[in-house]
Subunit: 526 residues, 2 copies
């Protein structure tokens, strides 16, 4: 497409239209060839899918081409061909959703059409025509309106369309053909055959699962974001001159890291919806909570807006001198690395279907935050207020003083959590408590950085950068929560502390309500 633009630009600049057109035609085969090749190289499953469609179509054509099969089914074999063309989709979930929608839509429409015919059967011919026309109008209007309802539009749009189509075909046909029953029967049979071929081809022959795509997308987005933050922080403290305002941000490796994530809402939701049609179960016949994946995606998207703002600091036209940045380089890079590590750990947790230990991640983050804090404190430029910033002369400091005690509580409990972790069980209750404490510590760190770092000059843009980095830690919490929920809902394996060789068992009650909730939309439709 980009080449296309360049070409058309050149065309309109100087050359005549004929020349330009000739140029276009000459370039077309090369361009088309390259584009075609790229599509297959990007995802070889596409090539396989294309062959699958070809085979399915050939199979369904045999219904018509082979004498014995044709004698059984006849002209209606066309409907099977049509069904295959329309229903066969790339993933199993999409095919199932379309196939079942088509099947149920047809059945429902046929029933209603016969009811209509039964009512219209009694009186004369003119009346019958008028009755049919009215029925078509009423059902047409109602069905079109129903398609605007978000719930229907999201789940059953295609089914409703097919319902309308079949209803009209049968009702209108019934006016001139007496034996509509047998036609409808044949048609439903052939549609069923078509659907069956599609389903067999997509489930049994090299199946592509929407759920798998969603799973992999989530992992790669977590990792992309992790890289992105790492590069971003490193580049900020990089000595070589390059962080000027780049307008062509499409080339940027950082931009690449979050680009797909920002606009992933539609993709994620479609995949989650399709995956919910797929017949894949966890042990004990619990469904995989695909909608939780979409929620993880939403939390990640929310998180990524902070990353965009952080990236903005790099591209900003105000910059803190390198000399000042260098003072806090190590602590900031460490915090950035810790955040990246957490994201990678979450990605691994999803990839390996095992739970992670929120305390350990929180502890590390916490340590990095404290490190940054002490770096801010230890610099000679820093002149703190009276009593090392703990005199209760401003409201914030009063709050801080209160938090300080909590922090000390946590500090003593933090190492003990680690020790306990390697030998004993941590119930949910105590875990919640520990996270609550960690949050308190985080808040204290935040206010300390706020107060402490302000005493020296020229650091405003750096302050904004640090502030966003710390903000990011706070927002990471929501992502961690969602992934933790996912782990519980999908019965991930329990967390094992590999370093200590011991096991920290993170037990929780079965989240029955959540699973039930996730089952609702798909259970209603089958």
């Amino acid at each position: 497409m980009a080449e296309n633009d360049v070409r058309s630009n050149r065309c309109s600049e100087g050359m005549g239209y004929v020349h330009c057109f000739a140029d276009k035609v000459k370039r077309f085969p090369g361009l088309a060839g390259r584009e075609t090749w790229k599509v297959g190289k990007e995802d070889p499953r596409r090539v396989i899918h294309s062959f699958k469609v070809g085979i399915a179509l050939t199979l369904v054509s045999l219904l018509y081409l082979m004498e014995p099969l044709f004698n059984g089914i006849g002209q209606n074999a066309m409907w099977a061909v049509m069904t295959v063309v329309v229903v066969m989709e790339f993933t199993v979930g999409a095919t199932l959703s379309k196939g079942l929608n088509r099947g149920f839509g047809t059945l429902l429409a046929a029933s209603l059409a016969f009811l209509t015919e039964y009512i219209a059967d009694a009186p004369g011919r003119i009346f019958r025509a008028v009755f049919i026309a009215i029925a078509v109008f009423v059902i047409g209007t109602m069905t079109s309106y129903v398609r605007f309802i978000p719930y229907i539009k999201k789940n059953y749009d295609y089914g409703v369309l097919i319902f309308l189509l079949t209803f009209n075909l049968i009702t209108v046909s019934s006016y001139r053909i007496d034996d509509v029953w047998s036609i409808a029967e044949d048609r439903i049979t052939t549609i069923a055959i078509g659907c069956a071929i599609c389903l067999v081809m997509s489930i049994l022959v090299f199946p592509n699962w929407s759920g798998e795509d969603l799973h992999n997308n989530t992992i790669s987005r977590l990792e992309g974001l992790a890289n992105c933050i790492q590069v971003c922080v490193r580049e900020y403290f990089n000595d070589s001159e390059e962080s000027t305002c780049q307008d062509d941000s499409s080339e940027d490796p950082i931009y690449k890291g979050y680009k797909t994530l920002l606009d992933s809402k539609t993709t994620d939701e479609t995949l989650a919806l399709q995956a919910s049609w797929e017949p894949r179960y966890l042990r004990y016949f619990h469904r995989i909570p695909w909608h939780q994946y979409a929620k993880v995606g939403a939390a990640l998207r929310y998180f990524s807006y902070t990353v965009v703002a952080l990236h903005g600091c790099l591209q900003s036209e105000i910059q803190t001198p390198k000399s000042i940045r260098a003072l806090y380089k190590d602590s900031c890079i460490r915090l950035g690395e810790e955040v990246s590590k957490v994201l990678r750990e979450l990605a691994n947790s999803i990839r390996n279907n095992r739970q992670f230990s929120p305390e350990m991640l929180s502890n590390n983050l916490n340590a990095a935050l404290q490190d940054l804090n002490s770096a801010l404190k230890s610099q000679p430029q820093l002149v703190l207020g009276s009593k090392n910033g703990r005199a209760t002369n401003t409201p914030i400091q009063a709050v801080q003083h209160h938090d300080q005690k909590l922090e000390e509580d946590t500090r003593t409990s933090s190492p003990s959590v680690k020790n306990i972790g390697s030998s004993s069980r941590l119930g949910c209750r105590s875990r919640e408590h520990s996270r609550e404490l960690t949050k308190k510590v985080l808040r204290t760190q935040l206010s300390k950085i706020a107060i402490v770092s302000l005493e020296f000059s020229e650091a405003l843009p750096f302050a904004a950068f640090t502030s966003l980095l710390v903000e990011m830690v706070a927002k990471l919490d929501r992502v961690m929560d969602e992934v933790e929920d996912l782990g519980r809902m999908a019965y991930f394996r329990e967390f094992e502390d590999v370093e200590n060789g011991d096991k920290i068992v993170v037990t929780c009650e079965k989240p029955k309500t959540d699973i039930a909730q996730n089952d609702v939309p798909s259970a209603g439709s089958e």
Copy 2:
């Protein structure tokens, strides 16, 4: 949906399954009724559209129900019914795109099918069957593969699908029916009739234009963002206590302002694509540059990430004491108001199809920035470095010193621009120069704020807030550029300075290349 969740939660908690199901059934009519009513109330055009579909279906049924019409067309009238059901869409653009895709797809497939039949005609029956099966396989595979190419997928997906469908139907039928010609002819005629009915209904009877939706969406998003920033800044300086961390951000009026914008990419691009099929022209037969609207949307989305970060400052757990914020309240609020005013001005520019004056907007923004700057300077807490921050002892200050001269240039030219504006013409060249200068001033302001505001303590979170606010001004530039381009491409009326009663004529050469570029995708398809 939310009620649904609540209900299913309650269900799984205590009651038995039967009770729960009964409860669901009992609640269903009320829920469905409310939902149905809401859909129509939100957008009454939906009700009208439903009636249009009903009427179109009734009209097309008459082909079958009325004796003289049926004699002309016969059984193939079914294809007209099918076409209407499938092609009729909400907006003119979508209907046209589907209708034309269906038409061309059918024609192309018919030609290819006859070519195939002609080749397969010569030898024996078995060979013919094999040949047809191979043709179906090859075309099926190739077509499915072509649908993965992004350009095809975006513009002609439906056409390719119909091509495959029709090709298969005709090729396979030709095996058992001799007179395929006449069948194909009838089928094409009826499809044409179906398409014609759809187009007449959607273009002539209460048409809904995708372009209009896109236009209105862009305006309402600009205004939503303007409100959002205004509320955001005001709330930050609000004295009443409410800015604690709100997790239920879905309720937030600020969140509402940018919520739809964040995920608007798909909607915008679909609307722009559909709009490009709509036969609406500007004067001189230039097309309306719908793709530029999508670009404005992209710039706005990019801008909105900063708004999200700004909103994050409100929800953050670190807060600067109110007493300090109060000192800069007026300047910050003024800057926020100016940014909002610019966004509203852009919205009005698009709404009224008239260009805006970038200089005037920039000047106002500039004045607000200087105001903030002097506010930061004037406070007694502030202790500036030697020589009022202009000693060239750090690199940034050296740069600043250089910029200072530029700023003085601009300061003298700024009022003159205003004066000249009311009486004489500003060519593009000089306008570009003036904007370049404005940018320089902006940069100077930024570094000044950076240095100046750092001398007093406890302001880090406030510094981040201010920094983001100023960053926002810098990013606003891209939005302004895109809207300006839109104005030029769509030949908006020239800007009139209403206050002075005079006219500032903003003339530019016709952007021929841009228009040509925008024509490419749709010109190729008609």
